[in-house]
């Protein structure tokens, strides 16, 4: 054992807080609370249950669960067992859950009692054990599975000691599935080192401390909640869980627990600000925003209530936040409009990240990527690298190679570099619509539509939406021999893909704009929908 080297792992954060502050409240949920000592003991108990169920180091354990304490415990329990956490989006339909769980080759699936319906009748390819965690707030599961807590007792785990350290900091801690750009979700792999440093970065930028009371408005299945569960455990703060992210519940919990921090997409913030419970805060609440930039009016309104917005930018492939729009000292005296415009930019690399680059889409300098001029005008692709970047896509070396072309992770986002070094997003190269902070693949919707016999050709693009930022819209060329209606197609889609992905509008057209080689020019459709706006994203 090298005396001067400890492998970095976020497990050390909970180990330390349980050591140093065993009796401090770590997690609260409805009328229950866990101290740090209980939190760590729960993680150990779950880790033993995984072992008892035959989970071996490196195996994947999938979780299908809302933001309840058990999902937070999993962030420590799964790696503590040496296994890899796959937290699945709770808004997905059965077939989508199956696709992800199967692709991850998970050996075990843990499901919240309120979500059992979705997976009860799915035939998973590799899952050997399904365990349920009954949440009294959700009621018992409709179909019977063993309770996770009973597993260790029932099977016995051989009593091997658990180790709160890892043999290799570059080994996997979790796989987080993207919404996918080709219809097939991709499994983004995080290492212990990346998770540790990303948590530290979040801790520093969001200024977490032992006084933090963090409210879980951000889904834990999104990049493991941007590493915030690990960060707050490191700081020794308190985490407030909730089943459903609704404005009235958020306000109730803010008031009841004297919340100091939460993270969310602008959509959630809009509902918080628009709530009939909204009121001026007694003490400031820091809100780390991601998924989409806050609109100028929203940022202003947030400050009026006493929220402190920290706008971030990143992707699943970068553990969530990679960049932060850090305010400059000289911005203090700017008028609100100018300030809001500057603050709606994606910003600069965080403390644990490298400099962002915006690189030319055209020819390179040999193998090297070439930066666009920092003129705030020339568009290029935003690329990133370093400890904040995933170690690759699971079981997809080709996609990994493409994503890492030239030694940098390609975001697929188009933007400009301003003269002050701040990056601003202008459009997406990838076929993605960001709706309420969720990435929706247009290609996936197109494929679902194409599976209907009446559909001949289709193109889906993002169109502006005041509430959701963007929503997908479909342009469909239908076979005239079928008399299909918009609502029939919508209904069909609801059976194929998650409801939030279903376009808000389907327009039947006689033809689609195409290039000379026959490729559909989605850009042209998009431009028409966004006419009169400065950017093609919202």
């Amino acid at each position: 054992m090298t005396p001067y080297f400890t492998q970095l792992t976020p497990l050390s954060f909970l180990r330390r807080s349980a050591d140093v502050h065993p009796d401090r409240e770590a997690v609260v949920y409805n009328d229950t609370a866990l101290t740090y000592s209980q939190f760590a003991a729960m993680a150990e108990s779950r880790a033993r249950a995984f072992r008892a169920a035959g989970v071996r180091p490196g195996d994947r354990v999938a979780y299908f669960m809302p933001n309840v304490p058990e999902a937070l415990i999993a962030q420590f329990a799964v790696p503590l067992a040496g296994a890899v956490l796959v937290a699945v989006n709770t808004r997905l339909a059965s077939e989508e859950v199956k696709q992800i769980v199967d692709h991850s080759q998970a050996k075990m699936l843990v499901v919240d009692s309120g979500l059992v319906d979705v997976i009860a009748h799915v035939e998973f390819e590799t899952v050997e054990t399904i365990a349920v965690v009954t949440d009294p707030a959700a009621g018992p599961a409709s179909v019977e599975f063993p309770e996770l807590a009973d597993l260790a007792d029932a099977i016995g785990d051989g009593g091997k000691a658990l180790n709160w350290s890892v043999a290799d900091e570059n080994s996997l801690i979790s796989i987080n599935y993207t919404s996918g750009t080709t219809g097939a979700p991709k499994g983004v792999m995080y290492s212990h080192r990346g998770a540790y440093l990303s948590a530290i970065g979040g801790l520093i930028h969001s200024k977490h401390s032992a006084d933090s009371v963090y409210l879980w408005t951000l889904p834990m299945f999104h990049c493991n909640g941007w590493s915030t569960g690990w960060a707050v455990a490191a700081a020794g703060g308190k985490q407030v869980c909730l089943r459903e992210v609704r404005d009235r519940v958020i306000w109730e919990l803010i008031d009841r627990h004297r919340v100091t921090h939460f993270n969310c997409a602008p959509t959630v913030m809009i509902s918080v600000l628009g709530s009939d419970r909204a009121h001026r805060l007694d003490s400031p609440v820091t809100v780390t925003l991601g998924g989409a930039p806050p609109s100028p009016s929203m940022a202003q309104e947030m400050r009026q209530y006493g929220f402190v917005p920290i706008p971030c930018y990143g992707l699943t492939e970068t553990h969530g936040p990679y960049a932060v729009c850090e305010p400059q000292d000289s911005w203090q005296h700017l008028d609100d409009t100018t300030l809001a415009k500057l603050m709606s930019r994606q910003g600069v690399g965080m403390i644990q990240a490298e400099r962002l680059r915006v690189v030319r889409l055209g020819p390179r300098d040999g193998d090297d990527l070439v930066d666009v001029p920092a003129d705030g005008q020339t568009m290029g692709e935003i690329v990133m690298r370093g400890n904040n970047v995933m170690i690759g896509y699971f079981r997809d070396p080709e996609a990994t190679e493409r994503a890492f072309d030239g030694g940098w992770f390609h975001s697929g986002d188009l933007g400009v570099m301003h003269p002050d070094g701040y990056v601003e997003l202008r459009d997406r190269a990838k076929d993605i619509v960001v709706s309420g902070g969720e990435n929706i693949s247009t290609v996936e919707i197109e494929q679902a539509l194409m599976s209907h016999p009446a559909v001949i050709e289709v193109a889906v693009v993002g169109v502006p939406d005041d509430k959701w930022g963007e929503r997908p819209k479909a342009f469909v060329l239908a076979d005239n021999s079928h008399s299909i209606t918009e609502s029939e197609l919508m209904e069909y889609l609801r059976g194929q893909i998650a409801r939030y992905k279903v376009p808000r509008q389907i327009e039947f057209v006689n033809d689609l704009p195409k290039t000379s080689t026959g490729k559909i020019q989605k850009f042209q459709l998009k431009e028409a929908e966004w006419a009169g706006r400065e950017f093609l994203i919202n």
Copy 2:
């Protein structure tokens, strides 16, 4: 280039802050100030000067300089040139400086104009270039050496681009010499990774932010100032330099710059509290304390003035602070005396460190170290490991092996483990006196005394001192044929060792207590001097 891996180095902290906040004040000194952009540019300019002087990657560059901006710039400039910083204690005598510089095999020595006298006539073994930095506040150097700033211009650096990253995070960033326990100082090697993580730990525990105004009361030559120069640069805060750490200057700077943080040994704090300028602070100032624990009355007095004490524990071998005495929530309602007693313990491992252990001095379990019971009574040796620990002693594999015996770094400090997991120091296994936060080797003083022809036998131990915590005291058996006096011996010592190491008292004795094998029982001498006190350290 692996897209998901960035080698950790504190260089990235200044690179980022110069990028993001180029115009923000980074360093102030008397009536001058450097912005972050200028700070980084100075580091680049110095790095070019080193190259111009023939410094190659891995070479050592020694600095002999008080806490002026140039010494802070060196913490970035030297590693930026790929070289290794050796910051030498400015209180050392010429021969001691020579010993360290020679042992480090430094190729270059940079000296403050006010300190040139000390090294001007020393013949260094490996130094090829001596450069001076003229500080107007110190006046011009008495002996002429080239000015560091002129070197790059004079010799030319070949124009190679500088790289703010490193090829291997485990490579050396600095060597920091201890006072030594056998008379010969040991060169403690730090890696870029250790420095990065230690800086992050300091940032989190001292709660540094962009609003930090950090006053340099802690010598930068002490473990590179506990990595604080890197930490504050990471946070984008301001650092206030000063030539001499005196109470009136400290108060003047606190008021003038609205200082938020400083680090120091309790001795410095005592002089600050005892100053005729002392007054209640307008806003809290966080003081990270190391070198020795704060006395109960001092901690109480600090709080009365508005200082927030953060007591830390560590050694040069652990980048300075490794442990922190983190207050428990339940201590809030304790009376001052009980609280002070709890807070004077060394505490628990910091966030970036591992758990401290207190291990049996006696037999092991095979090769494994055995923990003493956590009963607050059983004495053992405090051992540490992980990223906060040095990578070894420079050119001293035997001492390294001894220090890392059993896979843990042996502090040489004796202590107990309390039931709550907090460590408390009780005595030192090593022959060290900690005086005003400085480690003084008793063996070194003994050797200096023994070199006088009148001295036959000698023993030096630490005795309590109200101002300095401890001071060395010598017991001397003299040859009766010489009529040597205490003051003559004191005068002789001043020519041999630094003034602060000279004992405050020399007692002539007729014999020294010895074991049956003839070994002097220093413990017995020490006990008599510390009679009536609970511990044998202060």
